[in-house]
Amino acid sequence: MIKKGTGMACMFYPNGSTGKANPAGAFIKINHDGTAVLNIGATDIGQGSNTCMAQIAAQEMGLKLSQVRVVTGDTELTPYDAGTGACRVTYIAGNAVQKTARKAKRLLLDAAARKMGLIHSGQLVIEEGEIFLRYWPAKRMTIAEAATYSERILGQPIIAVDSYSPATMPLEEESGQGMPFEVSIYATQIAEVEVDTDTGEVKVTKLVAVHDCGKMLNPMLVEGQIEGGVVTGIGYGLYEQIIEDPVEGGIRNPSLATYQIPTSLDVPEDMVIDCVEIPEEKGPYGAKGVSEPTCNPTAPAIINAIYNATGVRIRDLPATREKVLFALRELERKEEG
């Protein structure tokens, strides 16, 4: 028999740990052809952070995205970064990139002001690769011209270095109280399942994931992160387990043939992904992280849905078909007895 149920789970997840130094460094140079090179320690592991970091730099310096080249993933060339993990790249490396880009922009505008014969650069605006006076837009020059002037005439190549680390704030030793993270990420997910009471199979028929990651800097990347997280969460909730050999020791399923991860047929066709965009004032352009916690509410939502469908409460993951079937039998036995 097929039993249907719905379950929900909410979460908050810490972002930007403050317990100890947690830095990200960035380096930017603007070339005399108007392009820029962004050098960052944060490594893109497939989530698209190179795109996102380039977006921040380009936005801040008034360049086109295509004019920013990102150098990363080589510790010999790039500044220090505490690592890609814990949702920290957009928030911490993003802040570092924004701070650095601001410095580069300042140098650029100062050079432009000198070239234009202005006393200071306060009224200058950069947009789409050009610098102009706010109240007299005809008075303009390209970023390439300003950078060349700075390099060749002022003898000041446009280079900027900065970093970001959340203000360190150790927890109170006695009580453990304090502020261990700068910001929090929030999410709610709802799963609809069908439980096959003859086999214990749990089919996730629909999954709704709504996240608050602050302002989305790149909605497609955010969507991809949430989708990936949800699939990981389904694996955590229903499939993935390391089976130890109690007699011989060792692991009995040390390959992807026996360690089961969800396939495309195990993922709900109906996945609704949305974001509540509440800008985080400490984040770059209001952004926070999104990645890791996307898989956190999935398994609990599924487990709640199984309970809603069948009355069976699974208390150790994953809820494999065997575990669910035995729990159903146990429940039947209790109800009859």
Binding site: D196, D198, E201, Y239, T263, R321, E322
Partner: protein, 290 residues
């Protein structure tokens, strides 16, 4: 000796090579089982006789009321065969849930039964149809009932020098297949089961054949369950009896995928499902064995 790889350019050539290399020869076609074992270093040194290029072994046709399938026919050909869809849905459905599309494009019927895995998905339908295996050798050929083909885990009744060239069976549109694995694709069956039912006008099952895999050293016919059902209607009480009876037909073990207890419960539940599906009583129940 190491591994050698020889490509046969015709069936007679393949048979000659098989005779020449005898016990050292290993027939390879889709390679979806052998290549995995080779990579895991679990394959003894051998001479691969490659029959992948033999178009003459790739066909599905009807002859005198029998469906004949060449041993080199891929599972993806089966899952796209209108002939099987209409006349042998059990085998059609087994092909649909077999591994994943990549594997189905390469894996073949002959390879799937020749590999003699207890969980081979094409075996229960062929057993439920009471099919035959056409076995060729250099000096002739023989017909082997599929019931006598599997002799143990990874073992068959094939003699050195012999090649499976065809499987054939009398098709039955009142047939069905159900598979339960640990997930819905790329899953080795924990229980797979096929049923073929001869229905009388009044809904009585004149004859019924049920075959189940992954619950014994070989895929097996569920003879005790069949006896409970034969000559009766697929009613609740009858099916309950057959569900109890199938426990004597099977001898599952506990392995890394599932426990003996799980296999026993699922085997009886899926027997009910596959019989009802074959009788077209409750199709599309969803869940396992879509």
């Amino acid at each position: 000796m190491g591994y050698q790889f020889i490509t046969a350019d015709s069936v007679p050539h393949a048979l000659e090579l098989l005779e020449r290399y005898g016990r050292d020869a290993r027939v390879i076609c889709g390679g979806t089982d052998l290549m995995v074992r080779l990579h895991l270093k679990r394959l003894p040194e051998c001479v691969f006789i490659n029959i992948r290029n033999l178009e003459e072994l790739r066909y599905i046709r009807e002859e005198d009321g029998m469906v004949c399938i060449g041993a080199g026919t891929t599972l993806s050909t089966l899952e796209n065969s209108l002939l099987l869809l209409g006349k042998a849905p059990a085998l059609f459905q087994a092909a649909q849930v077999f591994a994943d599309p990549n594997v189905r494009h390469s894996a073949t019927v002959g390879g799937n039964i020749g590999n003699a895995s207890p969980s081979a998905d094409s075996a229960p339908p062929l057993l439920a149809f009471d099919g035959q295996v056409v076995v060729a050798r250099k000096d002739g050929r023989r017909l082997l009932p599929i019931r006598e083909f599997f002799t143990g885990v990874g073992r068959t009744a094939l003699e050195p020098g012999e090649l499976v060239t065809e499987v054939r069976f009398k098709p039955n549109p009142d047939s069905a297949f159900v598979k339960v694995g640990l997930r819905n694709a790329m899953a080795i069956s924990v229980v797979n089961i096929a049923a073929s039912v001869d229905l009388a006008q009044d809904g009585t099952m004149k004859d019924v054949r049920i075959a189940v895999g992954a619950v014994a050293p070989t895929p097996v016919r569920a003879v005790c369950a069949e006896n409970c059902l034969r000559g009766r209607r697929p009613e609740e009480a009858v099916i309950r009896q057959a569900m109890d009876a199938i426990q004597t037909d099977i001898k599952p073990i506990t392995d890394v995928r599932a426990s003996e207890r799980y296999r026993r419960i699922v085997a009886e539940n899926m027997m009910r499902r596959v019989v009802l599906k074959a009788c077209r009583i409750c199709e599309n129940e969803g869940g396992a064995g879509r």
